[in-house]
Symmetry: none
């Protein structure tokens, strides 16, 4: 399958070290240009010509590193996005998720949201982009989050019969939902209060206590 790939990943022939080496300054300039143009005019309007012009670089220099615009964008965006919102660990799972999700919510409200949305958008018809996002963004976070869940189950804080992925879907799914598909005209907010409400709803469940005990 076609794969989104990193700039240095494929120097044409794998084990070559002859010839002039790639110019790291050019690589940076391209990524910077892609990012700034994308933020200004929207990523869907990005063109190789435009990036090359802004970066002060020939088109070939871009094509030598990436096969198309979106591979550039993925690299540029991912470099910005990753580790903006790390998964935090607190005493309890509830606290851990509250803090981590507030971080995510905040980043979605800001630059990260602006960067991630067009990427996820494009990913709906670009399979390689889809897996790039999954690998570089989602799976990374899932791994840490699953560990937190596991510990919370072991410690007795959480029910033992939970499927970690279902839990994480229930917690983070709403955030992605609101990022991508706000369902009313007034931009649906991803506020800290929303995270609190969400955490409370999912951790405590929907059913009335009395009913649950019945």
């Amino acid at each position: 399958m076609k794969k989104i790939h990193t700039a240095e990943a494929e120097p044409k022939v794998a084990g070559t070290d002859t010839g002039r080496p790639r110019d790291a300054r050019a690589t940076e300039a391209i990524l910077r240009a892609a990012l700034s143009l994308g933020m200004e005019d929207g990523f869907q309007g990005l063109t190789i010509d435009g990036i090359a012009a802004r970066a002060g670089v020939g088109k070939t220099t871009i094509y030598r590193r990436w096969p198309d615009v979106w591979s550039v964008v993925v690299e540029a965006v991912m470099a910005e996005v990753t580790q903006i919102s790390p998964v935090l660990e607190r005493a309890t799972a509830r606290e851990s998720f509250t803090d981590s999700m507030k971080l995510v919510a905040k980043s979605f409200r800001g630059k990260t949201g602006k960067l991630l949305r067009p990427l996820v958008g494009r990913a709906q018809f670009d399979e390689s982009l889809r897996s790039a996002i999954s690998e570089r963004w989602l799976l990374e976070r899932r791994k840490s989050s699953r560990a937190i869940l596991r510990r919370a189950i072991d410690s007795g804080e959480l029910r033992a019969d939970l499927d970690p992925d279902v839990v994480l879907d229930a917690l983070y799914g709403p955030l992605y939902h609101r990022l991508l598909l706000p369902y009313d005209g007034t931009d649906v907010r991803l506020s800290d209060a929303y995270v609190d409400s969400l955490i409370d709803t999912v951790f405590c469940g929907l059913e009335r206590k009395g009913a649950a005990a019945r």
Copy 2:
């Protein structure tokens, strides 16, 4: 703001009834062509030229009805998608959501998923498309679902302090999450079992009963 609009919406000059009337067969042929081409080659590859050719129609005939390709797609897709998965009402909220969400999951697994995904994707950088989806798809469903929730709270089945939108996010968010961003290579399934597990998780909550009581 620019708006996605329907074919018949604007007969160029509002109150005209002279001249040759629009050919309904052409309209249908265009929508059919758009849909079939999109299913075959992916919607991102759709071109006005292509649709016109497939429909056996001049480009102008398309431009007379819609301002651009994506307006055509929205109309074509929405006609297919709407009322494929109605919101069902059962005795309890839990049963209602279980059945409704299984219907949604099923449609996501099939044609509807294939049609909805590129639309949502494109919506990430097309504001008018975004609101078209929200109005024609999401809000419709929210309305019915909120009513179910309200009744379940009144009947005592559910906690009284719930925010309906937060609840609906927690239930449906995961479905959209998995539709749009499967987080592992093996296509994450939207199976009926998944819906069951999700319902159980959210309805009962994450916390251990003893802990919750503490």
Copy 3:
């Protein structure tokens, strides 16, 4: 074999009369632009981009009419060149050729020379161009010239055992030779005096009269 072709020659599908017709003004603008750019910067430096820009025309409009730059040039140049130097008929063959060849020499000294040289140059590695020149320029002239020769032989002015093409080669060959391959630094002139000298040399022959009579 690939063929240099005229603008109107192939309207894509032969018998079509629907659709917007080709714009004759565009065709003229392109030819004019090609000619003026060629005269200014040399024909070898002509680019489709440049012609399109100068003509105020899209590249496609050019490609719709001709397959490449040189087909444009042939058409532009030939329209200029043909009938600049018609084959003249005088009382005797000697007078006819003297006048005709002076006309050719003059045109070679001027614009026609400037236009024809790059064409002939390019023709050395473009077979279709070569035959285009032959058909539209050389054969045309040969036909009239052969007729003159034939009449002169019949009238007794010229030897009966001559091969017309060899004669025409001997007369015109030197002109082309000097046009294309001047053999000393000081630009070899194609003066009227040169034509007179050439005519005298070829008509009278090289051998001394006494020797010839011997």
Copy 4:
């Protein structure tokens, strides 16, 4: 004026003898590559990249020796072409030219024609190439041929009032004409019979003997 120059002509700084000397094998390989690529695909399609690849040589190694592709070609071709057809001397001018021109005609029919044509073609818009051909090819031959003519005039074989260059144009011009601009579809032949006919025509003149005597 820019000048076509030989490989060894300019070792960058004249009087240097330190450093690694130019590799003669590389020079040969380049010329061989240029020639073989040119014969295969046509000289107009020659690229520095291609020659370098075929010769197994870096592009710099070429640029160190010649300023551009055509300088390479001139050197490669001239080395092949020169002294393929020397000017022969026989008892009479007529015999000398008959034999010399048959040699030229033969070489034009073969490899030399194939090599010379693109060179002459390119020379129509490359002034330095034009003078290179004139100096290395034409002038050389003129010198010897003029001497033959002079002797023939002195000996009384030829008319005394002839302009040698006009005579040579009349004799060789037709050969170049047919090499460069064959005027009918069936490749106009430069056969030995053609040379005989040409010699006869030009030496004896066009006019009927009676008419000439009148």
